[in-house]
């Protein structure tokens, strides 16, 4: 930035405004390893007992946290994988290929992008039931994928749009067909897009709550969001320190991913597309 403006007033203002989040977050971490007496804000004892849930279910009848975590990884990972692999071809077709209904498809993607998704859940439930996927992780993965797809396709199209046409033209002049051009020349250019989209869908699926709750209530396909919500909603044994520990456990992958990949994540809107 230029030397013409002072920055400390901005820093100060931002710091003050960020206080709630910082406090919430700081206590999220602190409370997992301490006990705090009610009404006081100063932790008075260091303890690891809030992390016991890692070894034994906090209450009988609750699933094993590791199984749930594995589910969550499966859910988020597969969703991300499918979203990326489907978007990567569709985005290219929409951005670059002559085909019938191209305009219509693109308009469709944009429209879906703005769709009241969860409100269709009853019908979605029926679709799953017809395909026998209700109450399975696969079902939720597919639905989540479908909901993420418009966004994914839109983002990927944006990334493809920024690849210079000349590269493709050069490829064609060099004798490659469109498929080869896509695979060998264009695809490597949109890696940042793939990474960003993959991470984004992963995070989004990792956080998803309503879909698993409604579409896979069975314990076998429980994920961390529903696990945690059930824990919190269980109104007769609330234990904020426990919630926070589970919460932190649940949030750790997200934060790790952010810390490691934040540059890649920021790319998500670097595709030259308005959204």
């Amino acid at each position: 930035m230029t030397s013409n403006f002072k920055t400390w007033p901005v820093t100060l203002l931002l710091a003050v405004l960020s206080l709630p989040i910082v406090i919430m977050f700081a206590y999220l971490i602190v409370d997992t390893v301490t006990d705090t007496t009610a009404g006081s804000l100063i932790p008075d004892r260091f303890t690891l007992e809030h992390w016991r849930f890692l070894f034994e279910p906090p209450q009988t009848g609750r699933a094993d946290i590791w199984a749930v975590t594995l589910n969550t990884f499966l859910f988020a990972g597969s969703t991300s994988l499918i979203v990326v692999s489907v978007s990567v071809t569709s985005g290219y077709a929409l951005s670059r290929l002559n085909m019938p209904f191209r305009k219509f498809f693109l308009g469709g993607v944009l429209t879906l992008h703005a769709f009241p998704t969860v409100t269709l859940i009853i019908a979605i439930f029926l679709m799953l039931q017809m395909t026998g996927l209700y109450n399975t992780l696969i079902g939720v993965i597919l639905v989540k994928t479908a909901l993420e797809l418009p966004f994914g396709i839109w983002i990927m199209k944006g990334f493809y749009d920024t690849v210079p046409w000349e590269i493709e033209m050069a490829g064609i002049a060099d004798g490659a067909d469109r498929f080869t051009v896509w695979r060998k020349l264009v695809l490597p250019q949109v890696h940042p897009g793939l990474a960003a989209l993959g991470l984004f869908s992963f995070l989004s699926a990792w956080s998803e709550f309503i879909l698993p709750q409604v579409l896979a209530p069975d314990g076998a396909s429980q994920v961390l969001s529903t696990y945690m919500q059930n824990l919190i909603k269980d109104d007769r044994a609330p234990d904020f320190n426990l919630f926070k520990s589970v919460g932190l456990f649940y949030a750790l992958p997200v934060m790790t991913i952010y810390l490691i990949f934040n540059q890649k994540l920021m790319n998500i809107y670097g595709g030259g597309t308005k959204g």
């Binding site: 930035m1 013409n4 920055t7 820093t11 203002l13 931002l14 960020s18 989040i21 406090i23 977050f25 206590y27 009610a38 009404g39 804000l41 692999s85 978007s87 071809t89 929409l94 290929l97 002559n98 085909m99 019938p100 191209r102 305009k103 498809f105 308009g107 944009l110 429209t111 879906l112 703005a114 769709f115 009241p116 969860v118 409100t119 859940i121 009853i122 019908a123 979605i124 029926l126 679709m127 597919l142 994928t145 479908a146 797809l149 046409w165 033209m169 995070l203 956080s207 709550f209 309503i210 961390l224 919190i232 926070k244 649940y250 949030a251 997200v254 952010y258 809107y269 308005k274 959204g275």
Partner: protein, 434 residues
């Protein structure tokens, strides 16, 4: 069709398949459901025909002869030859003979009496279940029996010899049907229910305030971090990205921890003699402030990212130019930056309007529409109606109609925004003509 067309369609195929399965089909189904009275009582997959006490009570109201209704209400078990033959076939001649001998011609009202009688038989089946099935062979009424098809039901009531005429028979079938039926009532309900009206008003409040906060605060964050040196900017961005990337369940839990009676604010303020209260649910104003902040922080995260990347796209020489032209920071923002962010702002506004209109996760997890229904927005109302209420009275039909209203608004709005964003420019013709 040229080869590139095939390639294009091939590339689109997986997406088309998924979209058809989980978007298109559900929309169509939702549209269909919205014209039914489907609920957890009627089931989704279809109904059966069953005459129950309730049916019988209802029948006269529909003009069914009271006497015949009365007869339907009789749960008659008659030991007649037909029944005995069936019993013999199913449970052996010995039992049939024994029953025929001791009970022939007798009539029981209700199965339990007959069961008791059967239990006295020497040749009775071993399991209680079989006794019950055996008893049912003598059932000479349709009360409390489910018939999966109308034909079976009609056959059964015909057997009863009630001398029903066709219209009575049709009426009986209609009243006895337990499944859903076609109706436009849902839309009438939507138009007349006070609670839908309130949900609509709440939605307006919610979208309006949250949107203003999202865009305004997002813009502020983007601008503020834009003017900061790299490390500071990265720190604040990392902080403000948290609301967006933290799973909602955790994020809301943190808010609850902050706002509950025993939470941070209350504890903190109690040092200043402020009585603890639930800052999230104390009054509808509190609830609205919480909702707007909770969703607003999330939206502002997104806004911050979008606006930041848009800011980066402004050539720095333009900012330099304005500075040497004498502009102060506010003048620079007002005259140079904001006008150039017009599109991103418009886009964010449009996009978030739609997202807010249809999202309810955060409200569901935080206030769940309360206190009262003061923060129950349309989408949440839909969810509650269709899938989530204390009594378990899930009204799929009404819920579908409510959802469809949102679908229609969503499509209309996105069409508007396709226009706004100069759709034709987005679909520039491919430059390779193969």
């Amino acid at each position: 069709m040229r080869r590139a067309h095939l390639l294009g369609l091939g590339f689109m195929a997986p997406a088309l398949l998924i979209v058809c399965l989980f978007f298109l089909a559900p929309v169509i189904m939702t549209a269909v459901f919205s014209f039914t009275n489907m609920s957890s009582g009627t089931g989704i997959s279809g109904g059966a025909y069953e005459v129950t006490e309730k049916t019988v009570r209802r029948l006269p109201e529909h003009g069914f002869p009271e006497a015949k209704a009365e007869m339907l209400a009789q749960d008659v078990y008659r030991i007649d030859p037909a029944g005995l033959t069936a019993l013999g076939a199913g449970y052996g001649k010995a039992l049939a003979d024994e029953v025929g001998k001791s009970l022939s011609g007798k009539t029981f009202n209700g199965r339990r009496d007959l069961e008791r009688a059967l239990k006295k038989m020497k040749a009775r089946p071993r399991s209680i279940r079989e006794i019950k099935v055996a008893a049912d062979l003598f059932k000479r009424s349709v009360l409390n029996t489910r018939y999966e098809t109308e034909d079976a039901f009609v056959a059964a009531i015909t057997d009863l010899d009630l001398k029903l005429d066709t219209s009575e028979r049709a009426l009986l079938s209609k009243v006895a049907y337990t499944g859903w039926t076609w109706t436009t009532e849902n839309y009438e309900l939507i138009a007349t229910l006070p609670s839908t009206l309130r949900a609509a008003a709440n939605t307006l409040t919610y979208v309006g305030f949250t949107l203003a906060f999202n865009v305004g605060f997002g813009l502020f964050l983007a601008l503020a971090t834009f003017y900061l040196p790299g490390a500071q900017a990265a720190t604040f961005r990392a902080i403000w990205i948290l609301p967006r990337i933290l799973p909602p369940v955790i994020y809301i839990m943190m808010w609850k921890w902050l706002t509950w009676d025993t939470g941070f604010i209350s504890s903190f303020l109690s040092n200043f003699d402020v009585t603890p209260r639930n800052w999230m649910l104390h009054s509808d104003i509190n609830a609205w402030v919480s909702i707007v902040l909770i969703n607003g922080f999330v939206g502002a995260s997104l806004g911050m990212i979008l606006f930041s990347s848009a800011l980066r796209a402004i050539p720095s020489s333009m900012l330099y130019a304005s500075e040497v032209d004498g502009a102060s920071r506010l003048q620079q923002i007002w005259y140079i930056i904001l006008p150039q962010l017009r599109w991103p702002i418009l886009f964010t506004t449009a996009y978030q309007t739609l997202s807010l209109l249809t999202s309810f996760d955060y409200i569901y997890l935080s206030t769940d529409g309360g206190p009262g229904s003061s923060t129950e927005v349309w989408a949440l109302y839909t969810f509650h109606t269709a899938l989530n209420n204390y009594g378990g009275a899930l009204q799929y039909g009404l819920g579908a109609a409510l959802a469809l209203v949102l679908v229609v608004i969503g499509i209309a709005a996105s069409l508007v925004y396709l226009r706004l964003f100069n759709f034709d420019k987005l679909v520039a013709k491919p430059r390779i003509e193969q």
